[in-house]
Subunit: 255 residues, 2 copies
């Protein structure tokens, strides 16, 4: 996580997955993995994620804590038409802003629903904090929104992904994080001391060790991440050589 | 989340997923879904989950925040032999306890590794906060541990699951949460007002609305959760009747 060799600042983000269904085990979250991958590609480092229930006080307090702590916050879930969809009003409360009916959002919903279909519950989906910027929803129309550094996205994965694609140009990323992986047939405990020594020499490279079992045999994937391609190449070469010296035939790849 | 009808207290938990690899998008977390489901089955309500990086200050501060806030805390990840495995020392620091080499854990590792295999890096896996109770690892031997209300589990899913199975008898759950699902061919926006009225009459039942699309057609799963089987049955019947009154043919099922 050190960033000493980069000249641009590290840009950070937090994801808030909002919804009882994830915490009850009924629904498996798919949004965090997508956002983790795509934020990092955009040069934004995902530093934390939280899954929180549909409870007003929890959502308001959490939004206020993390929007102060990180450069960007992305919420997923809770912007539909039913009583358990309370994200928009909670984000408005967190910012101390009135919740207003956004005229452009109303216009989009009016165009989308057949006559008589746009009932009061669906009109709630046009509510945003005052001054919010809409986030397009090309799938089911009801938009998300951005207010300050908080991006409010849908919970349905296909809609969330489409919304994110529409806003990623608004993000000012830092240096993109580059990544190399060295895969070894050694158990991680067999090279832990040597690997720690490489990490000590490369404080600006984040070196992770991930053990696995394949066909009953242990192995380890070493992932090196950093913003400086030359330093990353040097650290990767040291890890590779260290494994060779321990009698292994490692495999190295990008990503 | 209301619990007014139960006489036993609600028992709560928080899960901390520790590891840069989840936040970078390299690895998709599988542990949260398992723990969510199995904690709820044990009568423990998972109220929050956080994914945090391998950064000492973050882990220590988060452990201290959530162990004060929830009845149980479960951590996954960061207890292996490499330099990026820092969960044990962070949990010790959070409790203000010395990190000691647990003799029973050393004994298990000595039995497991061939002569010469138990190097200093692997011996680190026998470190626990002073006074911790070990958690068995039937797969790769290196144990987890419990200290106070914090359970420290492995990150590798198969090992984490085996560890959890070994400790779930230690948990004092509240009333188990019962669940019913009513599936409708109606879009959620078409019944949102009526559903909200049912929720208003059943403050002790948590009613969630989850839209889906199947073969291009919208539908909604309404999930009702509560500890009182009679109240749950009444609320479920009202949701079912409400859908029938709107011209739908809903399907009801346990879970």
């Amino acid at each position: 996580m050190s960033d000493s060799s980069s000249e641009r600042k590290t840009v950070t983000a937090c994801v808030l997955v909002i919804g009882n269904e994830i915490l009850s085990g009924r629904t498996r979250d798919e949004n965090l993995a997508f956002l983790a991958e795509h934020l990092n590609q955009a040069g934004v480092r995902l530093m934390e994620a939280r899954v929180i229930p549909d409870i007003q006080e929890t959502i308001v307090a959490t939004v206020n804590e993390v929007r102060a702590k990180f450069d960007y916050v992305f919420t997923t879930g809770g912007i539909g038409p039913t009583h358990d969809d309370i994200t928009s009003e909670c984000v408005a409360a967190a910012f101390g802003l009135p919740l207003v009916r956004n005229p452009e959002a109303v216009r989009r919903l009016q165009q989308h629903y057949p006559p008589g279909g746009l009932n009061e519950a669906r009109l709630r989906m046009a509510n945003t904090p005052e001054g919010a910027t809409l986030i397009d929803n090309p799938i089911s129309i009801a938009p998300g929104f951005q207010i300050g550094n908080v991006f409010v996205l849908a919970g349905v994965p296909a809609i969330m992904r489409a919304m994110f694609e529409g806003v990623k140009h608004r993000l000012s990323g830092g240096l993109p994080v580059l990544s190399r992986t060295v895969t070894s047939g050694l158990a991680e405990g067999a090279m832990a001391a040597e690997l720690g020594a490489v990490q000590d020499r490369f404080a600006d490279i984040d070196i992770g060790s991930y053990p696995f079992f394949r066909m009953g045999r242990p192995g380890t994937a070493i992932v090196l991440r950093g913003t400086d391609p030359v330093r990353l190449a040097h650290a990767t070469a040291e890890v590779f050589q260290m494994m060779v010296a321990l009698g292994d035939q490692p495999v190295e790849a990008e990503g």
